[in-house]
Each structure stands twice: as structure tokens, then as C-alpha cells.
């Protein structure tokens, strides 16, 4: 069947199976050329393999929960949203969450996702106790920081290329309420935005929406949003009656592909100006329910169709702290000059990260998406170049078009990853369209 990632580019004809048992999965592993796929939220071709794509959503059981420690054990196909539905009413929340709750736990491990609290808590992998991985021989190996630590380290952020992630245990975090106390700080330019981030290292959550179409004085103007889990005492009536219950949000659906021309420089510039001014008027503190705070886009089902039939490409890089300011300026100038960008541009301060192959590094990350066409693909190559020149690297879960040599130039860790893949027949057994393109 024709299959794509969330960005709907590229689309590839894939053989898809959905095993329900370990034996059925083992039979697929034996065929080789396999990639495990979760809920299809990686943007590009990370979870596409023409000959052997395995839909892991059949492995959907929650297995155990320890209310004393918050350790939850699940099968890889369990959705993050289901974890929240089950455990938020009992006062537990995921320790790290990406911008959508429609991801599987297996996918979160494979991409070692980060959230708005990366600067403080690191990536999701920090909270994973152990992972069961099916290797090329069909045997299942449990790995953790103490047991098979090499496999554990490379599997976090390994994009499913070290084996099939079957089960995992990770630690939930205690919350008193389902609400976030948000502080909105309007930042008229990039320096102000970065200063706001540097001044708010203690905030649990921080993220900025950045206007990537603005040139000149207002280059990099942003709305920096800080957040804390609201305590029970901070709630008022009527929320106080049911502190762990937030109102169900209304959902919208994008029912068909919007024509691509709707998103152009003029409409985006207008939207961005409106959005910034609206945010600036709402500066200060407010209470926001967890769903709207962490997953604003989940309320628009199928928002990926708003970029039209050809789909879109995400660009997300991380820059080291020392070169962040220069690098971000260069990136923003290139984007604004090209007049192409999106209303979904995000800037975020990363904290330190010490891991084998995960994406984050201490510094800043910029993420934005572009409708796919020849002009944007050329722009993306320029952004790659700027990132390389500033010592940055790229997020594989977002990538759909990077060149193999770009990845190598950006990330000296590739050599170690290849060495790991070379052992135990992993390189032949676990492949994706992305791993082929990037010759991983």
C-alpha cells in the first residue's frame, strides 16, 4: 500500500504487516529489510521500508504499573495519548512529551524524543529503565543502563535500526493537576528571545514560537512560553473540584487536501503578524489545560493535509550554544529572504545531552516546515549548509530529504553507529527508506 510519514512526503509503496504475536513478528524479522512503524508520526521516511514495514500497533498492551515508583511497563505500540488518558486521572504524567500525543512509546524511544522540558530533564531516554529489543536472529534481548548497555544506548535515538523495540519500562512523573501555569513573554527579536530562554533555565517547560519571515530589526521575534504544572492550590473553582480532569477540547478535522497556493509568503506574513500581536497582548500568566498546552495541533486532526497534496518537509536542527546566535541569525535570514516558511516555527533551548545517537545537544534547536516544491528543497539544502557551518546537527525523525554526506559531516557519531549496525546482521535485517538514503 502507498505509505508516507506525517509530512506525506515521500510516498512509497510498502508491504505492510501487522503481527499480533512475537512469533509472527519473528517471521517478519527473518525476511530482513524490515522497519518497525508506530503511529506514523515521524515526518519523512524513517518508518517506511518498501519490502517489509511492520505496523507495531498490534502490540498495544499496558503490562504493569508500580504506583510507588511511577514505573509503567508497556508494549511498544501503546499510544502516548492512551498513557495520559489512563494515568493523568491518577496524578501521573509522561516525563517527556513531544508535540503530539499520537505517537507510540516505541516510536518515542526510537527517535529519543524531547519536549519543552529538555533544558531541565533531557530527552525521553533519561526516563526509560529498560527496553526489550528483538534482534536479527529473532531473539529478544533486555537492555538497560546496566544490562547490555551498548544496545540500550544505540537503541535510544537509533530510529529502529538496532532491532525491533518490543516492550519498555519508563518512569511517569507526579502531577497535582491537569493544568499548566503558562507565562507568555513577547520577544521583539532573536536576542530578546534568547535572553528570555537564558533567564528562565529554572522553568520546567519553555518553548518559543518564532516568526521566521521577519527581516531586519524584528528578525527572530518570538513569543516565549514558559510553563509549570499548576499545583492544586493554584487552581480556582470550578477546576478545583476535579483537578486532574480537563475539559474535552473540540476537535476539527481537515477533511481534504487544501490547495498548496493557500500557504504563500503573503498569507504567512499576515498570519504571523496577527499571531505575534495577539500573543503580545496576552503577555503574562494564564492557566492552560494540558491538552491545549502540550498538543495544540492535535486538536486539528489531519493538519498535515493543510500543506496540499505534495506534502511538506520539516527542518529541525540543533546548534551548539557557542554558535547558536550566529547560526540562528543566518538560518532566519536565509528563510525570510526566500519568503518561505511556516506558522509552525519553533525555537527551543536544549540542555546538556550525553547519549550515543540522540539528536539533542546543548544549545538551541529550530524547527519549521515547508510545503514540498523545488524552491523549498533548494532552500533546505542551504539550511543544511548553514547548520554544518555552525557545528549543528539534524533530527532524523523530521528528515525526509537530507543527503548522506550531510549527515556524516554533521555527526561524527555515524561511524560508531555503523560499526554497531555491522555486528549481528543488523545492517541487512533492519532498514528503512531513510537508512538507505542516508547509507546508515
Amino acid at each position: 500500500m502507498m505509505l508516507s510519514g506525517w509530512g506525506r512526503f515521500p510516498r512509497i509503496d510498502c508491504q505492510v504487516t501487522r503481527p499480533l504475536t512475537e512469533d509472527a513478528l519473528r517471521a517478519q524479522v527473518a525476511k530482513g529489510g524490515l522497519i518497525a512503524r508506530g503511529n506514523g508520526r515521524a515526518y519523512g521516511d524513517s518508518a517506511l521500508s518498501p519490502g517489509n514495514t511492520v505496523d507495531m500497533r498490534g502490540f498495544r498492551h499496558m503490562l504493569a504499573f508500580d504506583a510507588a515508583t511511577g514505573v509503567l511497563t508497556v508494549e511498544a505500540g501503546v499510544l502516548l495519548g492512551d498513557v495520559i488518558s489512563a494515568f493523568l486521572p491518577r496524578g501521573w504524567f509522561p516525563p517527556v512529551t513531544p508535540g503530539t500525543k499520537f505517537v507510540t512509546i516505541g516510536g518515542m524511544i526510537a527517535a529519543d524524543v524531547h519536549g519543552k522540558n529538555h533544558h531541565k530533564h533531557g530527552s525521553f531516554g533519561q526516563f526509560v529503565d529498560w527496553i526489550d529489543v528483538m534482534g536479527a536472529d529473532g531473539a529478544v534481548t533486555r537492555c538497560s543502563r546496566h544490562e547490555n548497555p551498548e544496545l540500550f544506548g544505540w537503541t535510544l535515538g537509533g530510529m529502529g535500526l538496532t532491532g525491533v523495540i518490543l516492550r519498555a519500562a519508563f518512569r511517569l512523573t507526579r502531577v497535582e493537576t491537569a493544568w499548566i501555569r503558562q507565562t507568555m513573554i513577547p520577544a521583539p527579536d532573536l536576542d530578546a528571545a534568547m535572553a528570555a530562554f537564558e533567564a528562565s533555565g529554572d522553568a520546567t517547560y519553555s518553548v518559543a514560537w518564532i516568526d521566521c519571515l521577519r527581516l531586519g530589526d524584528g528578525l527572530g521575534r518570538s513569543l516565549v512560553m514558559l510553563g509549570e504544572h499548576a499545583t492544586f492550590a493554584e487552581l480556582k473553582l470550578p477546576e478545583k473540584r476535579d483537578p486532574l480532569l480537563a475539559p474535552k477540547r473540540r476537535r476539527l478535522t481537515v477533511p481534504f487536501d487544501l490547495p498548496g497556493f493557500l500557504l504563500n509568503g503573503a498569507t504567512l506574513r499576515a498570519f504571523n503578524a496577527l499571531y505575534y500581536n495577539q500573543g503580545a497582548r496576552n503577555a503574562g500568566e494564564s492557566l492552560v489545560d494540558w491538552d491545549s498546552y502540550f498538543y495544540p495541533l492535535d486538536a486539528i486532526l489531519g493538519w498535515n493535509r493543510s500543506y496540499g497534496r505534495k506534502g511538506f518537509a520539516q527542518f529541525q536542527c540543533a546548534l551548539p550554544l557557542a554558535s547558536s546566535r550566529q547560526g540562528l541569525q543566518a538560518l532566519l535570514k536565509a528563510i525570510a529572504a526566500a519568503g518561505m516558511g511556516s506558522f509552525l516555527a519553533v525555537l527551543k533551548r536544549f540542555g546538556p545531552q550525553d547519549s550515543r545517537f540522540s539528536f539533542p545537544m546543548e544549545g538551541y534547536t529550530l524547527a519549521l516546515d515547508f510545503p514540498v516544491n523545488r524552491g523549498t528543497l533548494a532552500l533546505l539544502d542551504r539550511l543544511d549548509r548553514i547548520t554544518l557551518d555552525h557545528g549543528g546537527r539534524f533530527y532524523l525523525a523530521k528528515d525526509s530529504r537530507m543527503r548522506a554526506e550531510t549527515l556524516r559531516a554533521a555527526d561524527p557519531r555515524v561511524a560508531g553507529f555503523l560499526e554497531m549496525r555491522g555486528a549481528d546482521a543488523r545492517a541487512e535485517t533492519f532498514t528503512s527508506a531513510q537508512s538507505k538514503r542516508l547509507t546508515l
Binding site: 498490534g58 498495544r60 498492551h61 499496558m62 504499573f65 492512551d82 488518558s85 489512563a86 491518577r90
Partner: protein, 246 residues
Amino acid sequence: MSTPGPVLILGGRSDIGRAVAHAFAAKGHPIQLAARGAASLETSRKDMELRHGVSVTLHEFDALDMAGQAGFIDALPALPEIVVCAVGLLGDQYDDERDFDAATRVMRSNFEAPANILGLFANRFETRGTGTLVGISSVAGDRGRASNYIYGSAKAGFTAYLSGLRNRLARKGIHVVTVKPGFVATSMTAGMDLPEKLTAAPEMLGEKIVQAVERRRNVIYVKPVWALVMLIIRNIPEAVFKKTSI
């Protein structure tokens, strides 16, 4: 409202049975899962308990063992408030036309077994004076077609049985719901090219059934479009219908 009563799922191993169980558990109902080889549903049981914080029990149940049905009911920890029968067997029309044992098995699994067990519950519910019976039948029972008439005729029988049961119990406070799912995306249909607009996810089916029980609906098509599709199919004159291949 009082604490939600227990819901028994007959055929708790199927994707549909599982989805219905989750939907009721999410509303706080304790769940009794009945299936052949029930012990192997331990992972499902634990999963349901973890997600919904309700108690879930497993019960060995062989739908075709008619002699054992009454004993099965007596062995349940409590007479359920709601019984959902998701027992069924699709079979293979072509093979079953040539193998009468197999055909009989399809007919028994889709009509005799579900009808009998719900009949037994009906009597007990009548004595108690409360209860809801949910039978998962099929749009295939609305008209016999070459492609699946063995399965379809058994479902037609089951649909008629449910209708009769509803009529009998209507004034006794017992409600009967007939569910006609249409296409459902389950592991049984994985890999089949089902039309998106006519296909329901098992989770949607589960929610619709909970809704139908709460609102005391009589007959539901899970996707409303099916009511229209089947209205048309039922009304094609036989002289024309016999030459079609739908």
C-alpha cells in the same frame, strides 16, 4: 447514578470483543471476558485493569458446547448487568459450500450458539427484572448473497432471534440491542482493501455499542451510511438481484 454493573463479553478474544470491553471499562464497568482458552487473555486482562482501573475477570467459554452453557453462567462471579455476544465465525464461503461440516460450524457459531446463550441470559434477566442483551449480528444477514450466504443466513437467523427476544422482553424491563457493524478494520480483515468510508475502527464500534445501550437503541448500524446501503440492497427486485455480484 449507582456503580456501573458488570459487563460480560462473550468472544472476548476478538478485536471487536476487546474494543467493546475497553469502551465499557472506560465507563467504569467491571468486565467479565469469556473466550475459549481464556487463560491466555491474561495480558489483555491486565491491560484493561491498568487503563481503566476496573476489575476484569477471565472465564473459560466454548460457545459451541451447548451442554456447558448453563454451567458457564452459574459459574460467573455475578450475573452480569449487560451481556455482549461477539461470538462469530466468518468461514470461507467457497470451501464451506463443499464441506458441510465446516458450513455447519459457521451456521452454529453465528446462530445456534449465540442465540442459545443469550436465550439463557434472557430467562435469568427476566427473573431478575433488569438487564441488557447485545447481539453483534451483521449486515450480511440483511440479504443472502452468493459471496457469503452461509455466514449471512446464520446472521439473518440471529437478527430475527434478537428481534423476537426484544419483542418478548420489551414489557419486562429487559432491553435487547442488535448491532450490524458493516466492515470493521480488525486483524481478521488486515490486508483486505476495505472502502474507507464504509469501514469502522473497532474502537468506534465499541463506543457506538456503549451509546446504544445507554440510549436503549434497538437496531444500530455502526456507520449510518450502511443503513442506506442495505436499504438499497434489500429493495433490489429479486429478478435483478440474482444476476448481480455484490
